[in-house]
Symmetry: C2
Subunit: 414 residues, 2 copies
């Protein structure tokens, strides 16, 4: 089924609008106008909204003023006020455009989550009221980012939660597309702030988008892309300022030629730890990473190298905010695993090249290493997947690395 | 059962905090501290909160910017964000005071209303979750002003709605008292801004309080006092700035001596209409007031006088905001009822004396009229109940009238 073709006729479209897209009264009216046009073209529309602009940050600031502890259940109750405001205003504006509409909280929309406040996971979707609303000709406007737990308490879905709401609703309602409206015009071949010659990509595969999200791409969070892929929901990332078509994120189409390298990403939010002089025997890595996992520390890249002396060095990267906790954990297990030394680097850089065509194109790795070398950039760690190569480099050299690779792989806009 | 006695031991107390009482982070922490003390004294507490300070007004302003029509369902969804914020913050602050607590929306608290958005009426209370919370040792913090309709939509209870929430919860939970915390220290013998010598009343009967609320008393709305009387919920109006005991509003106690006049109220929010030269035949008043009622215009005082010529004059008062609509209605029915003339006065004043002891004290009416006459204040309309006498006078003379009557009836503080 071709999604683009289907959109010519009647389709069900989920349109998600981020904080800048509903940042003030004018933006909200512009959103309503766009929804009305989509509706007038013969489509059913479900709208998902984030809180206005920086309102969520303002609420967090208020909570900080009141309470040093900010109990998570109450923080969730507080933060969900943000989408409540934006969804009611969007629904009002729709009504003024002659579009009948009704707003629904996460709870009313049937978004059932676990009880893990401030970062709840969706367990089940029961969007009966949303379906009823669509069937009776309304445009439902749903609060993003929020749900109701199996304990009947209000929860939030954590960072990028509004995208997750939109994708989950699109999946449950068998929508034809989930449109993510934001303040950029789509997904680019590199961060345009780093690479002025970066190009907007018309189409990216789920696999590529997941690798991009995991390695520093800022447009979509990994979680919502994973969810969309699992449920086969085509995503369309586009701008609510220009309203032009943006980037489609879809299943790989085997009949099409794939770009060898589609995009270069960069990330300077991580730190590196090295546990050195560890006897090379079974169970050492298991002990270390089990302990890190038990403490809720997410490990990203892991590299292990054994020298000729039978001692091994394990290096891994974590979010910089987790560095202190990870360091303490390593110090604790140091004796248990017989390690000689724990060292850390607070700020590292990572540059990644991503492309579905890499699977069938030898020589990509060599070109990447040569390019970095030519530009005097030393490689500290390497990790690869079938469609990605990441190199850890000095943080200050990341931007140079991205620009050099963007040029080397022929991605610069004419 | 003496409520005051019972409060020495373990009691269930509903404490309602208005917008100024939770106006900023400091006020919220002060509220939490007070609740913690009440709890430490061995009482169970249920907290009901309004939105912070002027936040509801800010939301209405935002709605005005976005939408000229402001559909009522969406306006309710919008406004309920206000209590959501204050209740989460109060619950956080309680937790910091070592008081276990959980916040609940109107819907979660089981406040079931009709579907009349922006001014819904409570149909049923199902506070199961609140009871469970109390039983498990928590202090529930409930959003005032809001409920969920029989159509499962979010509703608001209209002006004074948070007091109604508090009283309804107190009734449903069989609380020993409902404490209404506000920015004044209680109910006064007259508005202290008008009469500097006004005294705080330690105790007022429900009947007196209802008459005061109906004739310009600004501390409590008629609706919540009615509700409290119907369910026998003692009210205690007090200050969240001084935390001192305020005014108890309770059932009349037949063993106690009643004040002849407890309070003088004033009101300058009404307008007067007169339909003159009407043939005195049955059905004329019915026709007029049915039509006004059908248009949602609330009529307050009504006075009818028939002259010797067989023609009658009907005067009545309405909220000034309804004057235009009422005037149009009168003009429409003028011919139907054969009236000669419709006149109106845009701004009238009303002064009322209220006291349960009036029932058994002749001479009160005479003293009131004499006092006004002595001060050169002309009486335009008169209406009475068994415990109240109201006179319509020139709006500019209302303050003089209140002060003169306050002195004449011996209410001035020493």
């Amino acid at each position: 089924m071709s999604t683009q073709l289907k959109l010519i006729g009647m389709a069900l479209i989920v349109q998600k609008f981020g904080g800048t897209s509903v940042g003030d009264a004018d933006r909200i009216r512009a959103v309503a106008d766009h929804v009305a046009r989509t509706r007038a073209a013969g489509n059913d529309v479900v709208v998902v909204v984030s809180a206005m602009g920086k309102f969520t940050d303002d609420l967090i600031h208020l909570a900080d003023q009141v309470s040093p502890t900010r109990p998570p259940r109450e923080l969730d109750m507080l933060l969900t006020a943000g989408e409540r405001i934006s969804m009611a205003l969007v629904s009002m504006a729709l009504s003024d455009c002659g579009v009948e509409s009704a707003s629904f909280t996460g709870s009313q929309a049937g978004i059932i989550t676990d009880t893990d406040h401030t970062r709840a996971k969706i367990l089940e979707m029961r969007p009966d009221r949303i379906r009823e609303a669509i069937d009776s000709g309304l445009v439902p406007v749903v609060a993003g980012f929020q749900g109701v737990s199996t304990d009947r308490d209000i929860t939030t879905l954590g960072r990028g939660g509004s995208d997750v709401t939109a994708v989950a609703l699109a999946a449950a309602l068998h929508a034809d597309v989930c449109e993510i409206y934001t303040d950029v015009t789509g997904v680019f071949s590199a961060d345009p702030r780093v690479v002025p010659k970066a190009r907007r990509l018309a189409k990216v595969s789920f696999d590529e988008m997941m690798e991009m999200a995991a390695t520093g791409g800022r447009v979509l969070m990994l979680r919502s892309v994973e969810f969309a892929r699992r449920h086969g929901v085509p995503l369309h990332v586009r701008s609510s300022f220009t309203w032009e078509p943006g980037t489609w994120i879809v299943e790989e189409d085997p009949t099409m030629e794939e770009a060898i390298v589609a995009a270069i990403t960069d990330d300077t939010s991580e730190a590196k730890l090295t546990v050195d002089g560890v006897p090379d025997r079974p169970g050492v890595a298991a002990t270390l990473f089990r302990k890190l996992s038990d403490r809720g520390i997410n490990v990203d890249m892991i590299v292990q190298n054994t020298g000729t002396n039978g001692l091994t060095a394990i290096s891994f990267t974590v979010a910089r905010t987790d560095l202190e906790a990870a360091r303490a954990t390593c110090d604790e297990v140091k004796d248990e695993i017989g390690a000689a030394l724990v060292t850390s680097v607070e700020k590292i850089g990572r540059v990644s090249i991503i492309g579905a065509g890499m699977k069938t194109s030898p020589g990509v790795t060599a070109l990447m290493f040569e390019t970095l070398s030519t530009h005097g950039i030393n490689i500290d760690m390497i990790s690869t997947s079938s469609i990605r190569i990441s190199c850890v480099v000095e943080a200050e050299k990341v931007a140079d690395a991205v620009r050099a690779l963007h040029t080397a792989f022929g991605l610069d806009a004419a």
